[in-house]
């Protein structure tokens, strides 16, 4: 079994670590760090069934990683509060997406999860107000280039990234969960309609929509870098949805049909069952996705360059129609060449 298989097995069945030797532990730590799952693994192994049996150096590492993840979440939730304070005067609630949303609700996916930027969803009609409110509250553009600005505004589902001058933290303001140019178009209004309050002026997507967003973000948008982590999110969110409503899977598939993303969502269900659950009958293409998800070697290096390249190209084709994509890449290439 290779290191990525050990990682997946350790998350699924913490007892599986009992047989690891020194080299396998070193490789497991390295790939977990590469997939930004080290603190998640630490929580999973030190927090529950695996605890006690850990080698001393691993126990010390996990304690430090858990403490660091707690600290990161404290920072992330403070950013949520800052965004809330900036947007409450204009009457726009902050709808949290991804990590900070999981942390605000203390969901199982939040345990040890890495949280970087703050991702929020706001109604498209209020984007201009939100932008002005954030700019006057100390956020500033990361990319000031006119083409980059136009690219985001015309084609993407978010404002160009903003960074806070004093706290050095990024915020991504979304009005949808997929680019405007993407093959699928999601009715963001329907997501916002069902959002649930978690604190004063702060909301998250509803449990089913959290799964939709997670699946779409992983399979209909990016190149699957960090996909093992996203799939772990999906697995944890499924568990939460199941605890909330026994018929969650039927509801999820119905909602996915409505949004036109049934293919991505059912693939996420199959992949998550295959890697973290009780297994699932896999299609040939699913096996290619799993090969991409597990593409990292025992030294922690990304591996399988051809598979990675295929998914990288796929991610661009999903995001933009080919002609538009060629124009965009040509433009970016020329910009890179003329930069000093």
């Amino acid at each position: 079994m290779n290191a990525m298989r050990h990682l997946v097995a350790a998350l699924r069945t913490p007892q599986s670590i009992a047989t690891l030797n020194g080299d396998q532990w070193s490789a497991l730590v390295s790939v977990a760090r590469g997939e930004m799952l080290l603190a998640t693994l630490a929580h999973r192994l030190a927090g529950g069934q695996g605890g006690g049996a850990l080698p001393p150096s691993i126990a010390a590492l996990f304690a430090a990683e858990c403490a660091h993840a707690d600290q990161m979440q404290r920072h992330a939730l403070w950013e949520v509060e800052m965004a809330h304070r900036a947007l409450s005067p204009i009457g726009v609630p902050v709808i949290l997406l991804k990590g900070s949303g999981y942390a605000a609700r203390n969901l199982s996916a939040a345990a040890g999860r890495h949280i970087g930027d703050l991702d929020i969803l706001v109604p498209r009609a209020r984007m201009a107000d939100v932008e002005a409110a954030l700019l006057s509250a100390g956020w500033d553009w990361v990319k000031n280039d006119p083409y980059d600005q136009a690219y985001y505004r015309q084609w993407m589902h978010e404002l160009p990234p903003l960074i806070h001058g004093a706290r050095d933290r990024m915020i991504d303001v979304h009005h949808n969960i997929l680019p405007l140019t993407a093959r699928h178009h999601i009715d963001a209004g329907a997501l916002i309609e069902r959002a649930q309050p978690v604190a004063d002026g702060v909301m998250t997507l509803d449990p089913i929509d959290r799964l939709i967003h997670c699946a779409v973000h992983m399979l209909a948008d990016g190149d699957l870098a960090g996909g093992v982590r996203n799939l772990w999110d999906f697995h944890c969110l499924s568990g939460d949805a199941a605890a909330f409503d026994g018929a969650w899977q039927a509801q999820l598939l119905l909602r996915a049909e409505d949004f036109g993303v049934a293919a991505a969502v059912s693939r996420a269900l199959r992949l998550s069952a295959a890697l973290y659950g009780d297994g699932a009958p896999l299609r040939l293409t699913d096996r290619l996705f799993i090969r991409r998800l597990l593409a990292r070697d025992a030294m922690g290096r990304p591996s399988c360059p051809v598979t990675q390249a295929v998914f990288y190209i796929r991610s661009h084709l999903l995001r933009m129609p080919p002609i538009l994509l060629v124009r965009h890449l040509w433009r970016k290439w020329r910009m890179a060449r003329t930069k000093p």
Partner: protein
């Protein structure tokens, strides 16, 4: 073919992979007396590899990486492979070690009490620690000192000492030739030569000590001595730490306690001999004062 070496430096278990045999052979020789990681488990992985596949053979270019990488870092020529390996390992420690607070400082110990020296590159903290470590002090480390936030002690991280320019010959005159790596000319910091710490530093790498004096050396400055208030010491230490923010409140508490208890002095000096005399005088005057 990938070449591998694993070792423990103080509490830190590391492994490094290299596309070339040379840098690993240098590491094996210079780190010969260091222990292997406990249970064979390295929790940090460094890598030095060809920036492009063909650069393994054709004008070899060594890029520095591992679990953590620096985007856009320029690769080094293979003649500087040992330096690249050391930089890759330091990078992993700086970015990935969260069990203790990492201070970018050199440290030496005597009678169980620790002298910490904090300063920018070129301040002479590394050379001073190396010189003291050849005298009646034990070297704890020339690059990082590990602050245990639980009890306020300083733990050793006695990696190879990175000597630069004139310091190379000063130390070569004092220590056995077998302890030195190849002289590496033409680095961004001039000539660099790695030196294995004295045997006592390696044998006692698990034993830390309570900090007793904090110095901010500045080579070439004629400002003499200046007592540094705790507030200034606090800020200079946060600036010199790579993981102060990541540690959160326990880090703040530990660092506040450290600067309150520790006498701190900025030291301007012109030569190694002068610095050592100043250090000994300050130690005699202050080391008894630090209340723990």
């Amino acid at each position: 073919m990938t070449h591998e070496f694993a070792l423990r430096v103080g509490p830190v278990p590391l492994r490094i992979f290299s596309d070339w045999a040379g840098p690993i052979a240098d590491l094996r020789r210079l780190y010969a007396d260091y222990p292997a990681p406990d249970d064979g488990i390295a929790t940090l992985t460094a890598r030095i590899g060809a920036a492009w596949p063909w650069r393994r053979w054709l004008r070899p270019a060594v890029s520095i990486g591992g679990d953590f990488t620096i985007p856009d870092a320029l690769p080094l020529p293979l003649s500087q492979g040992l330096l690249a390996a050391e930089m890759a390992m330091n990078l992993q420690v700086a970015m990935g070690w969260r069990t203790h607070m990492l201070l970018h400082a050199s440290a030496v110990e005597r009678d169980g009490r620790v002298l910490l020296m904090v300063g920018a590159s070129g301040s002479g903290k590394s050379t001073l620690a190396a010189l003291l470590g050849e005298g009646d002090w034990r070297l704890l480390g020339d690059e990082f000192a590990l602050l245990d936030v639980e009890n306020g002690n300083i733990l050793p991280f006695p990696r190879l000492i990175s000597l630069k320019n004139e310091a190379i010959d000063v130390l070569r005159a004092r220590a056995c030739p077998s302890r030195f790596g190849p002289r590496i000319p033409g680095t961004p910091k001039g000539d660099i030569c790695h030196m294995r710490p004295r045997a006592d530093a390696i044998a006692r790498m698990n034993a830390g000590g309570a900090p007793a004096l904090l110095l901010f050396p500045a080579y070439g400055s004629d400002n003499g001595l200046r007592a540094v208030p705790p507030s200034e010491a606090f800020f200079r230490l946060t600036e010199s730490s790579t993981n102060y923010v990541a540690l959160g409140e326990p880090g703040f508490t530990a660092l506040s306690q450290l600067v309150r208890a520790l006498p701190a002095v900025a030291v301007g000096y012109q030569s190694g001999e002068q610095a050592i005399d100043m250090v000994e005088a300050l130690w005699a005057e202050n080391s008894g004062r630090a209340a723990r």
